[in-house]
């Protein structure tokens, strides 16, 4: 339960691109082919390790539907990281990225790390958006890019962890004001590296590390 830092994430993007499935794959390591529409916002959490430091990720998975836009906007300000997701098999979800990005830039704090995610990379045969296009968009807007599959879990860990690394680096560089909780970052309750493990770490803090660094 002891962690060095706590990061708040949001997941945004069009409806049906697989935001909730990404979260479920990351927190529960399972895939649910039929997922109910997210109503408003749902919460998930997991512990990861970066630079041998325990970092707790609190993730708010938002509803992609237009009707919930005004509600989900309330979550931009307090988030340190955002996963902006599109579906590589549906071009329109890629075309809407600018709208999402504008919205995020307008309502979030300027240091928020945004990771662009092309999801459903397992459906290569139905691909409508080339990987190069995603890369180009990310380069143009200064985002980190990755193609993932919530179904096969490909790159899912990496997406969440690389975002955390980026935030972590920004903290080391002093870009983030970690004392302002509105930035979506909290320092752990026992912020001392010599604090191995308290009894009763949550189940979700389970197996990770290793491959991530």
């Amino acid at each position: 339960m002891s962690y060095a830092y706590l990061f708040k994430y949001i997941i945004i993007g069009d409806t049906g691109v697989g935001k909730s499935c990404l979260l479920l794959q990351f927190t529960d390591k399972r895939f649910q082919p039929v997922h109910d529409l997210t109503i408003g916002v749902e919460f998930g959490a997991r512990m990861i390790t970066i630079d041998s430091k325990q970092i707790k990720l609190q993730i708010w998975d938002t509803a992609g539907q237009e009707a919930f836009r005004s509600i989900t906007r309330s979550y931009y300000r307090g988030a340190a990281g955002a996963l902006l997701v599109y579906d590589i098999t549906r071009r329109e979800t890629f075309n809407h990225l600018t709208t999402w990005l504008d919205d995020a830039r307008q309502h979030s704090n300027s240091n928020m790390v945004i990771m662009l995610i092309g999801n459903k990379s397992d459906l290569e045969s139905r691909r409508e958006v080339k990987k190069e296009e995603g890369e180009a968009f990310a380069r143009e807007h200064g985002l980190v890019f990755m193609e993932t599959s919530a179904k096969t879990a490909a790159n899912v860990e990496e997406a969440f962890i690389n975002t955390a690394k980026e935030i972590y680096e920004k903290i080391q560089e002093g870009v983030f004001d970690i004392n302002n909780e509105a930035n979506g970052i909290k320092i752990g309750p026992q912020h001392s590296p010599t604090n191995p493990s308290l009894p009763g770490a949550t189940g979700s803090s389970g197996s990770q590390g290793g491959g991530c660094c």
Binding site: G40, F43, K56, I71, R77
Partner: protein, 812 residues
């Protein structure tokens, strides 16, 4: 001034007839001054006066000033004083409560003026956004009334204000910032505002939680002295309850965010609690804390959430702390009751927690298990009713999905363990089952039945239990005693309790059914009850359960009792009761209002002891076996057509599904093939085009080749002729040189040498040209060969001319 005089008049004696008009006039004059004055001071004074009048002449002020007040809010926002007056005035006119000195106006009293003015004000949602913006103004004169105005608006139109705040950018954030406010009065009012704002709106609840509400609230609670603190602590806890109740996402967040640990300090009772006692506020605070814990582990939450919360509650030592409260002395009865309920839900279905609880010892002499002490209270008439209900719930939760626990309880009833001196759970339950207090009978019967849920082994074990009813008489089996009691007693509650126990016992246990059928008079009793045509005062429930038990005897019958085999029993029911009557009796149960109440939640909830009739787990049992019984009795056979149709449609359904699958498969294949076809078509076109291009290139190259050949031929000819010309010339020159020198015709010699050189140069140039051309030719040749090869690959016939051409050229 006029309004002072009018105010004075109203204070003095009976109002003159023109009183109303004077008040309204004053208000109108003030309103016009606010809207027309150019000096800020004047507007400010007028607003101050409006504020002063807004209670007494609320209708007038509200009716006339709304627009100018909005205007001031927009235009004079830099002046905190006037904004403060404005907000206060709006607050007064929209107040839900009538004021003491409010003028009895011409409007009928039953119309809620505050609500109407609220409606007017929020019609334009911009106005609410305006007020929200004033929350950011630090000045006390603005921020406080802004909070109060929002509270007032929210009280009148909760849904509308919730929706407006939800969609206004940063609306919730602005309110959340107020929880860190150093001026307590603002913070406390903001707390109340947030409590109302978060009521039954999951989206706002989530945003508030996202905005670090739990951190803020625990900070406030700690600074106010935990449960020893005042009403602010209670408000904080109520807000947390609002955020968590029925909000799985927030509960998950609360648990994952390690906030559970922060509850622990609030459960520690001070060492001198008996001396200082429990203040009413402390009782309220404690009550809220217990509610908070119960919200996390509420049986209606998703199972994975409950399990996770139960685990962190135990790890945070909260279960331990609660057990200490349970065993402490001087705890008020309602807190004790709620603590028992809380412990119940923390251990419900969680083996580790159940085991922990089983090992908790009460500090009595001799030390007894806490569970025994609790059961002692349950079967004690003198204990408060709610407390006894709580103990039952706690016991139910203790054995819920706990095979080991169930076994241990039954074990204490078996002959082998009767040697122990101290009282055991089993003895308490058996004693309670046949005591003179019908409520104890009911509690004990339900408790025992919970030890049998989904546990066939214990059902068989319980068959071995013998009890001695009176001194000197022979011991009889517990099952037998139950039947005897049913036949003799006329206490409704006790009988229902015992019948529910029998239902649980006989269901899915053929051995129990067999023994039951062998008890003389058992079947006769059930048949008599089921076939009875008249009843009063809830006796229909008894008849219903009797019918249910008969049904269970049919379903779980191994045909070992001759007279009551499956067939004989069905026959008996058909003959003696009649299928229709039987079904009607069975239906009496689920139609009864207590059934609906009991089936709602596992916890036993009742105001009065007489309300306790049916129980949650029995309702579940009934629901799952009602249909089975009716089927078994062959009632459905009467509806023969219905059955065949049903089965047919099922068959059709399967067929239909098969076909659907087939069509889907074929569809997919068709699509795949079509795609493949289009792909090949496209490929074919591409190849055709390429071929065409290559052909053109080839013919071009052929032309070039011919041209070059011609040029080459011409060049070699001219070189030949030049050579021919040059060689005699050189010869003649060489022969002529001595002659020339002799003649010393220098000039001529010079000229000749020059000529010679020029000719040589030209020869060199031509040779070089020829070489270049030859090189070019070779290149072209290579190219042509490549192209030819490609053409051959593409299956095209290669032009023979070009072949010959290149050959002939090679000869050159």
């Amino acid at each position: 001034m006029e309004y002072f005089r009018s105010g004075l008049k109203s204070v003095l004696g009976a109002p003159p007839p023109d009183q109303q008009i004077t008040g309204a006039e004053t208000v109108e004059r003030l309103v016009s001054r606010v809207s027309t004055s150019t000096l800020l001071e004047d507007r400010r004074d007028a607003c101050r006066a409006l504020k002063a009048l807004s209670k007494k002449y609320r209708v007038e002020v509200g009716a006339h000033s709304m627009d100018v007040l909005k205007q001031v809010l927009e235009l004079d926002r830099s002046d905190c004083e006037i904004i403060g007056y404005c907000l206060d005035t709006l607050c007064n006119i929209t107040s839900k409560e009538p004021f003491e000195d409010e003028n009895e106006s011409t409007l009928p009293v039953n119309i809620n003026i505050g609500e109407q003015f609220t409606e007017m004000f929020i019609k334009n949602t911009e106005n609410v956004a305006l007020v929200l913006n004033f929350l950011e103004e630090y000045d006390f004169r603005v921020r406080w009334p802004a909070v109060k105005l929002l509270t007032s608006l929210l009280a009148n139109k909760p849904k509308e204000i919730q929706d407006i705040i939800l969609v206004s950018p940063m609306g919730v954030s602005k309110l959340m910032d107020l929880l860190s406010e150093s001026r307590e009065v603002i913070r406390n009012d903001a707390l109340l505002l947030l409590i109302n704002l978060t009521k039954s709106n999951a989206n706002i609840q989530k945003i508030v939680a996202f905005e670090n509400a739990f951190d803020r609230l625990f900070e406030v609670i700690t600074s106010e002295g935990l449960t020893e603190g005042g009403i602010v602590v209670e408000d904080c806890l109520i807000l947390m309850l609002n955020l968590l109740k029925n909000n799985t996402s927030n509960i998950n967040f609360f648990n994952e965010g390690s906030y559970v640990q922060k509850i622990y300090p609030m459960l520690i009772l001070p060492a001198n609690i008996e001396e200082i006692g429990w203040s009413p506020q402390k009782v309220s605070n404690m009550h809220c804390v217990l509610q908070l814990i119960r919200t996390l582990v509420n049986p209606n939450n998703p199972v994975h959430i409950i399990t996770a919360c139960q685990k962190s509650i135990r790890n945070a030592n909260i279960l331990e702390a609660l057990c200490n409260v349970l065993m402490a002395s001087g705890v008020p009865a309602d807190i004790l009751t709620e603590t028992i309920n809380t412990v119940a839900e923390i251990i419900r279905g969680n083996l580790t927690n159940q085991e922990y609880f089983a090992n908790v010892m009460a500090p009595s002499t001799p030390p007894r298990p806490a569970i025994v002490v609790l059961l002692l209270s349950m079967v004690n008439e003198k204990q408060p009713f709610q407390l006894r209900c709580a103990v039952l719930y706690c016991f139910e939760c203790f054995v819920y999905k706990n095979e080991i626990g169930q076994g241990q309880i039954i074990q204490t009833l078996l002959p082998s363990s009767l040697g122990t001196a101290d009282v055991t759970t089993g003895q308490l339950l058996c004693g309670g089952l046949f005591s003179n207090d019908s409520l104890s009978n009911w509690f004990s019967a339900v408790s025992l039945s919970h030890c049998l849920i989904d546990n066939p082994a214990q059902k068989e074990q319980l068959l071995r239990v013998m009890i001695a009813t009176n001194l000197g008489t022979q011991a009889v089996s517990l099952l037998q005693q139950n039947v005897t009691y049913l036949q003799q007693s006329n206490r409704l509650q006790s009988k229902i309790g015992i019948l529910m126990l029998l239902s649980m016992w006989l269901a899915q246990c053929q051995q129990a059914v067999q023994i039951f059928l062998n008890i003389s008079g058992a079947m006769a009793f059930l048949t008599a009850q089921t076939s009875a045509s008249e009843y009063d005062n809830n006796e229909e429930l008894i008849q219903g359960i009797c019918a249910f038990i008969m049904g269970l005897c049919v379903v779980f019958n191994d045909n070992s009792v001759q007279n009551y085999s499956k067939e004989n029993l069905s026959h008996l029911i058909e003959k003696r009761v009649g299928i229709e009557t039987y079904c009607k009796k069975l239906n009496e149960i689920s139609r009864h209002e207590v059934y609906a109440k009991a089936a709602k939640q596992p916890q036993v909830l009742a105001r009065h002891s007489s309300d306790l009739l049916l129980e949650f787990e029995f309702c579940k049992l009934f629901k799952s076996f009602e249909g089975v019984i009716i089927n078994a009795l062959g009632v459905q056979r009467d509806l023969h057509n219905g059955i065949s149709e049903l089965s047919l449609s099922e068959h059709e359904n399967a067929l239909l599904l098969q076909y659907k699958e087939l069509i889907r498969d074929q569809d997919k294949k068709l699509q795949d093939l079509q795609k493949a076809f289009t792909n090949s078509q496209r490929e074919k076109d591409m190849l055709k085009n390429e071929l065409e291009e290559l052909r053109q290139g080839n013919s071009q190259l052929n032309d070039q080749n011919t041209l070059l050949k011609a040029q080459l031929a011409a060049n070699s000819n001219s070189i030949q002729t030049l050579d021919n010309v040059a060689s005699p010339l050189v010869e003649s020159i060489s022969t002529a040189v001595p002659y020339i020198s002799k003649n010393a015709n220098e000039e001529e010699k010079q000229k000749l040498i020059q000529d010679l050189q020029e000719t040589k140069e030209e020869l060199d140039r031509l040779r070089k040209d020829q070489e270049d051309l030859l090189e070019l030719l070779t290149d072209q040749d290579c190219k042509m060969n490549v192209l030819k090869n490609r053409l051959r690959e593409l299956g095209e016939e290669v032009d023979d001319d070009s072949e010959n051409g290149s050959n002939s050229e090679n000869e050159l």
